[in-house]
Symmetry: C2
């Protein structure tokens, strides 16, 4: 099988870093806070809240959004505990947060930027979340923010020019049915492995909270804002190859290991897996209305998301030039951006069966 | 109170790194393996070995010695389990290793060099081991290799030229009774905090294995090989200040936060703390006979141990020059090195009361 570059975010704190430029994900977290609090209030068994309560973030990156996500969860657990027992959670509960990401993630930055005054113990858990990374029954609530959309590898055939599955685009645009099928199959296999692993690691009755982005049923990736900007990135890299700034071969072999599934596909995968019950699958109204339609902001936001991945393949100079072109394309095609179909930001609440 | 630079090892894999240059500690680990196996066989309750077994290394640095230490422990637990139950540990036990060190430790290198084929889950736990860093009852066996000798700060007065406790040397040589008393008091306070924290984090009946180096009763630090080389480092830094390569003020304010206690002092601190029973306090016969008496090897070994700490205070160039001088001094005073009093390498086995 074709394997792919591991997916990483730009570490450190520089102006291009995920740490500094992930305000889009942050806005989703803020919009989702009330719904997460409600979900925990409604779905978490009080019996699970004992003297130790453990939260795990899978695909945490190097911060700081993970700190917001886990604090939201801890706040909600404390609120529920106080309301239903009348006791002060600080007297009785020790919280621990397990921060998971690939072992090439920048854990040093994560650890050095842990919020002062936090009321939880911290641990970093290195390893791919498609596999087991923790012993059985290691945590009570898992959260994934914008991480429930990866495949473990580029689907077979996608990078092979002689294959009927060859994909000329760097992403699954949704317009080539064979390519879409290959991505969906890979995503389905990987996501079921992920759910199997988490089901073993989660306490009985524990919850998974999935925050992220998907397609509304029937909408194609390249019809959305995100898909359109991704296409701009692909076109920009092609432009740079045409100009000789990078090689065409490099562009042709550059594919993302991300699949923005349709809502119905996600639901079906979870149901087929059978380890979890879907307690909620909600639309989040995002304060930033997906992304602001400002060419500069779009280029910066997508650089934070995809810059490290593109740099690893093309080098940092080509990456920077590509995002300069993305900004130009966004400016030139601003009317196209105004006509995109809406994406969907979701909060999915899963309870372990 | 005077606070000190945090103690760190040289990260990464470079020729000066702790990772590459910690063969001295490695040799102790190898010499200690049989004694650790015996200690676990004799002292670990079989009841503690259930479907999950958790080992924690406090002060793990960036590897690779921690991997040897924890593997020794896991091997010993598996051996005991197989021998006493007749069952295959691989079928029944999931191991997890918690790697603790300061949050400025190079966890990225640690995670990226985890041994392939290991049969345990891994997590990094950032934070000072003088405080709680984990929830209650988080592990079954703790190990500390060469980490049970730190103080959390330079004792009050040591850096103050106007204080009767002012220490002209960079270490506690043992020859100034007031300085020695100040270091011992600080070490005693800190070590009791460390033991209090571990007692809460350890499972009932759990063990602590302490590997390290101490003074035989009545022997002074500067009478040993280690103390003598430390004095060479101090003298070398003074020489560099005399030559104007660094400032005298910087040298005068450079003090280690390490105290090599006497065997009897360690015993007394543990007994006064009262949270643990000393099951064993053994001499380890070290294959490298403490350190080889080769000036170059001594300079390299001590650079691996103290280089990062010295660099943080003086910069890397001064640090390198200092160790060049250390090698010269060791060569010039080789007869002094041959007359040093023996140090002691220990394995202490503590059982939680």
């Amino acid at each position: 099988m074709t394997t792919t570059q591991d997916w990483i975010m730009i570490g450190g704190y520089g102006p291009e870093s995920y740490n500094q430029q992930s305000s889009y994900q942050r806005a989703l977290l803020e919009a989702a806070k009330d719904k997460m609090t409600e979900a925990i209030s409604a779905n978490l068994d009080l019996d699970l809240i004992s003297n130790r309560f453990i939260v795990a973030d899978f695909g945490c990156a190097s911060g700081p959004n993970t700190f917001v996500a886990v604090q939201n969860i801890i706040d909600a657990v404390e609120e529920k505990y106080l309301r239903e027992t009348g006791q002060n959670p600080e007297d009785n509960i020790e919280f621990q947060v397990l921060f998971n990401d690939l072992r090439i993630n920048d854990f040093n930055t994560l650890f050095q930027t842990l919020p002062p005054g936090r009321r939880y113990f911290s641990a970093g858990v290195p390893g791919s979340f498609f596999n087991r990374v923790l012993p059985k029954q290691s945590f009570h609530i898992a959260v994934m923010s914008y991480a429930f959309l990866f495949t473990s590898k580029i689907p077979k055939g996608i990078m092979d020019r002689d294959s009927p599955l060859w994909n000329k685009d760097m992403q699954c645009t949704g317009f080539n049915p064979a390519v879409k099928k290959a991505y969906l199959e890979q995503y389905s296999i990987d996501t079921k492995n992920l759910l199997d692993a988490r089901a073993e690691e989660l306490m009985p009755g524990g919850l998974m909270l999935l925050l992220g982005s998907c397609m509304r049923d029937g909408v194609k990736m390249s019809e959305t804002l995100k898909g359109t900007v991704m296409d701009f990135i692909g076109e920009s890299l092609n432009d740079l190859a045409q100009k000789g700034v990078t090689e065409q071969e490099k562009v042709d072999t550059f594919k993302t290991s991300i699949y923005f599934a349709e809502q119905g596909e996600i639901r079906q995968i979870i149901e087929e897996n059978g380890k979890f019950t879907i307690e909620a699958f909600e639309d989040i109204i995002h304060s930033k209305n997906e992304f602001p339609l400002d060419p500069k902001t779009l280029a910066i936001s997508f650089k934070a998301l995809y810059g490290a991945f593109i740099s690893a393949h093309f080098g940092i100079e080509v990456m920077r030039k590509a995002f300069e072109l993305v900004e130009v394309k966004a400016r030139e095609q601003i009317s196209r951006l105004h006509k995109v179909k809406p994406g969907m930001q979701y909060l999915i609440v899963l309870r372990k069966n």
